[in-house]
Symmetry: C2
């Protein structure tokens, strides 16, 4: 395993144990068995290291969206969306501690915002990608054309993101699979 | 203004400036012009002080839910829900930095969870309260009985919570009022 991967693994572990604030680059470098200088050779900032953890170590949202896009017009739309919902919930649950920690740390949040603007990236893009897929399903006449695809995507992703966050604070009564099915059934009813 | 209120104000200000991690009880006490010992006389823990900021200083969710409950069977349901959605979005936007900061700090999160269990409270309860209201509107035949009220409440609250969080990371294209109207229109369509 290369140094870069060791650093990302060490960062993920440190965030899990100590939270964002406690996951200092010093601690991460020590855990990865390298110097802080070498860490900064691979990652320009703590922000870019956090982004690498989010994009490279989490069960990512991009493959789930790609899978859903490939299934447009294929199979049962509710089943496809329920599978996607479960994957999105899993992603947000893993990502929640990082996203929360960044949000709760004003200087880190500033750096993160700047980095996202430069990269033309952002956590709102998966919603737009999902809306595009829902529009394609409307085009294939498999989803009520009266639904606003953007609003439906906001609600589906938002419900997953919220539930992921809630699960850290309380034990939720219903199981994830059942919940996902009910959400999708309510959203795509005709 | 009493000491307790001064402490809560100082905590809110410190969180805004320094984030949860930087908002130490030492800093808050200093800002409130009291000793840390006196702070701990009013609040048993940093967790309970944070909860007081959330419940007493934020434009709260409880009055928004109470207002919506009073409007069951009255006026136009879409307009009522759109007003509620805007208020929920405002609440979650103000609360996001605290919720995120707690989530990103494992020991603080542990303390928060324990406190919520003891209090029989939790951030999932507003979803249940909204579901109850939606069921009452179904009983009054103002909302499609085929909608699962729990799922609809999860989606409406989730969309607000997610958007509140996103707004810290990126500049969102559409304005809040338009967005709220589209969400509600998609949710309660017949």
């Amino acid at each position: 395993m290369g140094t870069r991967d060791r650093i990302i693994d060490a960062a993920e572990q440190a965030i899990h144990e100590f939270g964002i604030a406690g996951a200092t680059t010093k601690r991460i470098a020590h855990q990865a068995g390298c110097s802080e200088a070498l860490l900064y050779k691979h990652f320009a900032s703590k922000e870019s290291l956090l982004l690498a953890v989010l994009l490279e170590r989490m069960p990512a949202l991009a493959p789930a969206l790609a899978k859903l896009r490939l299934s447009v017009g294929q199979g049962e739309i509710r089943a496809n969306l329920t599978t996607f919902t479960t994957m999105a919930l899993e992603f947000y649950t893993r990502a929640a501690a990082i996203a929360g920690g960044v949000l709760g740390d004003p200087p880190l949040l500033d750096g993160f915002r700047t980095m996202l603007v430069k990269a033309g990236s952002g956590p709102h893009l998966p919603i737009e990608a999902l809306a595009e897929i829902l529009r394609a399903e409307q085009g294939a006449d498999r989803l009520d054309a009266g639904i606003d695809a953007g609003a439906a995507a906001s609600m589906l992703m938002g419900a997953c993101f919220h539930r992921a966050n809630l699960s850290y604070f309380v034990d939720l009564p219903d199981d994830d699979e059942t919940w996902a099915g009910t959400i999708v059934g309510t959203l795509v009813r005709r």
